[in-house]
Symmetry: C2
Subunit: 383 residues, 2 copies
């Protein structure tokens, strides 16, 4: 009796002296039961510590109230990822509020295995996080299961995806630095295959181009010589001396987007960086920015006095750094919450959900850029 893991509705009904139909009505709250019967059943449930079997329920309801979350990564662990971790946290909370539970999986090889697993588990819907290969999308489409992509890179008009407006964010970053008077920019760009990185970069470059167009006289670094095409800059690290622009921009591409890559890149190109007398460094995410900035600091470069540094993502880490990193925020909370909310509507059969939601980003000015930035941080991280 004590060794039993759990009791069934039949046993409960037996103890209460009613049929299992009646017990079911009391437990599930669907259907009528007279007060005294209800009480007897409830008492028996208490006694047996009866817990309805969600598995059996799911079976007849053909619905599990579970949502599968798959995070696609290549090699690195990803829940503890500074941005995706936050999104997962939000998903967890939002799901709880809507009565869903979360099945979490990370997928190293971007394979279809984890997808199969979720399908076999008969989750009600899927949230796919991060860039995923086309084959994954093609695959999931074949099954009639609601799914949503968060921060994905596919530009498929069919799939519902939630992304931050990285292009606009890149523009704001450019504006911020430009307004602070910077004209010589060194950009550390994460892998261009990533939607986020490439959009942030292009937003930044485009904005810079249009800013220069407006007031092309106020500069001391103008290498007036170009012809005026609107391919603003060199794609990979040649000076933009041929453009009819005032800004000097060097784009350094990083093969991946980690802190270490930022370090490595700056170590390799430090000489070039110094000799170019850049006054601002923009990286397409915080990790790259911090990695690069660390190398600068170690070489005795003062941030922001000598060089301003700006990242993107508003990871907690950036706010904690010394100097605190100026960055562009990504609305992780919004992404996570809405992912669940919209998926819920899709599960409910609603057809008319938005295909694409973009989240606006704003500049979080802090110490690492010269200007009025403050040193506060959005503190997280306890034990």
């Amino acid at each position: 009796m004590d060794t039993k893991l759990s009791y069934s509705l039949r046993e409960l009904a037996q103890l209460a002296g009613v049929s299992k139909s009646t017990a079911s009505r009391v437990i599930s709250g669907n259907g009528y039961a007279s007060p005294d019967v209800r009480e007897r059943v409830l008492k028996a449930a208490e006694e047996l510590r009866y817990k309805p079997n969600a598995v059996a329920r799911a079976m007849v309801a053909k619905r599990t109230y579970n949502i599968g979350v798959i995070v696609f990564r290549d090699k690195l662990p990803i829940v503890s990822h500074t941005l995706y971790g936050k999104i997962v946290d939000e998903i967890l909370m939002a799901a709880e509020d809507l009565g869903y539970s979360i099945f979490l999986k990370t997928d190293r090889e971007m394979s279809l295995r984890s997808m199969d697993y979720m399908l076999e588990q008969r989750v009600d819907g899927l949230i796919l996080i991060s860039r995923l290969r086309k084959n994954v999308i093609d695959y999931v489409k074949k099954f009639n299961i609601p799914y949503i992509m968060v921060n994905g890179s596919a530009e498929d008009p069919d799939v519902v995806h939630l992304v931050s407006n990285d292009e606009a964010g890149g523009e704001r970053a450019a504006e911020h630095l430009y307004d602070q008077g910077h004209r010589r920019f060194f950009i550390v760009a994460g892998p261009v295959e990533h939607r986020s990185h490439s959009l942030r970069l292009s937003g930044f470059l485009n904005k810079l181009g249009s800013l220069d167009d407006g007031k092309r006289m106020i500069t001391e670094e103008d290498k007036q010589s170009g012809q005026g095409s609107d391919g603003i800059v060199d794609e990979t690290s040649t000076k933009a001396e041929d453009a009819s622009r005032i800004s000097i921009v060097t784009v350094a591409e990083s093969p991946d987007s980690s802190f270490d890559s930022g370090v490595r890149l700056m170590e390799e190109r430090y000489e070039e960086f110094r000799s170019g007398s850049y006054t601002a460094l923009f990286a397409t995410n915080d990790m790259l920015a911090l990695g690069a900035m660390k190398v600068l600091l170690e070489n005795g470069v003062h941030v922001p006095e000598d060089v301003s540094v700006m990242g993107y993502d508003n990871t907690d880490l950036g706010g904690m750094y010394h100097p605190a990193l100026t960055t562009v925020s990504v609305d992780a909370a919004g992404l996570g919450r809405d992912a669940v909310a919209i998926l819920d509507r899709m599960i409910g059969g609603e057809e008319n959900v938005p295909r694409l939601i973009e989240y606006e980003s704003e500049v979080i000015a802090r110490r690492s850029t010269r200007g009025e930035g403050n040193g506060t941080c959005s503190g997280i991280g306890n034990t």
Copy 2:
């Protein structure tokens, strides 16, 4: 047909022209089927994109191959927690390898709700992370479900728990700083209710006491006056001038263990800190250490030239900081992996599992303490 979410074994069998028993045998791999029948069934499965229904399977098997992971937190999100996030990552990977899936829940109020949910889902076992109240343990004990505690604070001999050996880690930290010649210590201690924080602190203090006993002459700061009790130091921030010890220790207690608390604490006690001419700061976790260090840096204190700073947890963040933080590692990978492995054994009915596993910690010497420390970092954090 295309609108169908999924097909049943019966439909599959029908298409293949066999009975569902036979189809089951082919699909599950349990039992014999002749080659041509096998092939027919497999072909039909392909055609229908048949996915076995794990819910139905779980029902008859009375086993779900799901593991519930509940992270108890008070207010802050916790998956993105620098340490617990890592542990969850490891659990995810280990579970995958053993054929389990993970149900993840965080529990804000340390309530029993999430526990009930897991029980209803009929998970095969539970991993409970972080400190949990006694009522939670009492509750889970009532059900015959295997469970394990990771980094929990309960010292209940019945429950299987995996913890890092925080006491020994604290000792090593003391040793490290002592060996580097430090004698005036300022300690930022996280909440003493937390097992980890209090053990790290006591380990540190005890070790310091015994180090001083051994060679009480080699010092310039000796306030020879005390009587020789072995209550080494003042508990809260009074100088240990009465002890027959060479070290001066101040313990500053922080109400919580976040980065912000570290900042706040050091801001409040900065004057005291400066006037005490401490040469080393030890905090019971990295976040507190970094928060405090940031304040020092902002006040122009040089780390490690003026003050050495040391944390605990070996969070990625510490390695990325400038200067890179010396810390004590916690074997998050080991904790996560073993949690799943041991739980698996318990699920398998094995009685004879260890009740307590302690993970040794080692000092990770980096730049923030004077000495030979290097500046490397275990880089993580990409997009």
